[in-house]
Amino acid sequence: MQADALVLMTTGTILVFMGIASIALSKNLVKTIMSFQVVLFGANLALFASGLGTDARLTSDTFVLLSITIGAAVEAVGLAIVLGVHRKYGTLDPSKVRKLKE
């Protein structure tokens, strides 16, 4: 593997772990959606780097495009759910929402 591809893949992995940590620690649903976006960025970067300098370049680029589109759709649905939760419970804190549900 090329050295720059390795650097990009490592960065992608770091982004995925940062995003997962932020999802676990976040106390705001909008921030959770943003963290999901960061995980998606990391996954896309790693997928893109996996095709650099190989014969599978076209395939990896195609899957990055598909992943971007799916991610955007999932994020739009997530933001709609966040709006719905805010309308019903009046807060975006997941722990408060859980208490209000009980």
Partner: protein, 160 residues
């Protein structure tokens, strides 16, 4: 260090820095602006490594549509007041977008002269590959995206 390695390291550092600021900032509006810049950096990475079309799609989708959706949700929920004036916010969000779009179209139109990587060829190959091998995936994705947009607009138009 090889120039291409240095480029990868610098861009990766910029990406991790912007993402770190986005995730660990206390204000949601600052997070949104940092996340916008991180998607710009990611688009630049895609473009510099020879895939202008993926860079453009990344830019249009995340720095464009998703940022605006998130901004709308933040304003509607009233979770955070955007402390910037409309002009300043517009400058922050629109200027990099315009600069990147201009540079991409310049590269795609072959304006950069002879280059080791043919940006127009790669973009064309990706489009042909998608159209020939994965047309149903494309259709399903377009339908999913359209239904998400309809859901959002439906939720926004309903009275509380």
């Amino acid at each position: 260090m090889d120039p291409s390695e240095l480029q990868a390291v610098l861009l990766s550092a910029a990406l991790v820095a912007t993402v770190g600021f986005a995730l660990f900032s206390s204000k949601v509006s600052s997070s949104l602006i940092a996340l916008f810049y991180s998607s710009v950096v990611l688009s630049i990475i895609f473009t510099l490594y020879g895939d202008t079309m993926v860079g453009l799609v990344q830019m249009a989708t995340f720095a464009g549509a998703v940022s605006v959706l998130t901004l709308t949700v933040i304003l509607m929920t009233g979770e955070d007041r955007i402390g910037l004036g409309v002009r300043k916010l517009g400058t922050i969000l629109v200027l990099p977008l315009l600069a990147f779009a201009g540079a991409s179209f310049y590269l795609l139109s072959g304006g950069s002269g002879p280059s080791a990587v043919s940006y127009a060829d790669i973009s064309n190959q990706v489009l042909v590959f998608l159209w020939v091998n994965r047309p149903w995936d494309l259709l399903i994705l377009v339908m999913a995206f359209a239904s998400a947009m309809v859901t959002i607009s439906n939720l926004m138009s309903r009275e509380p």
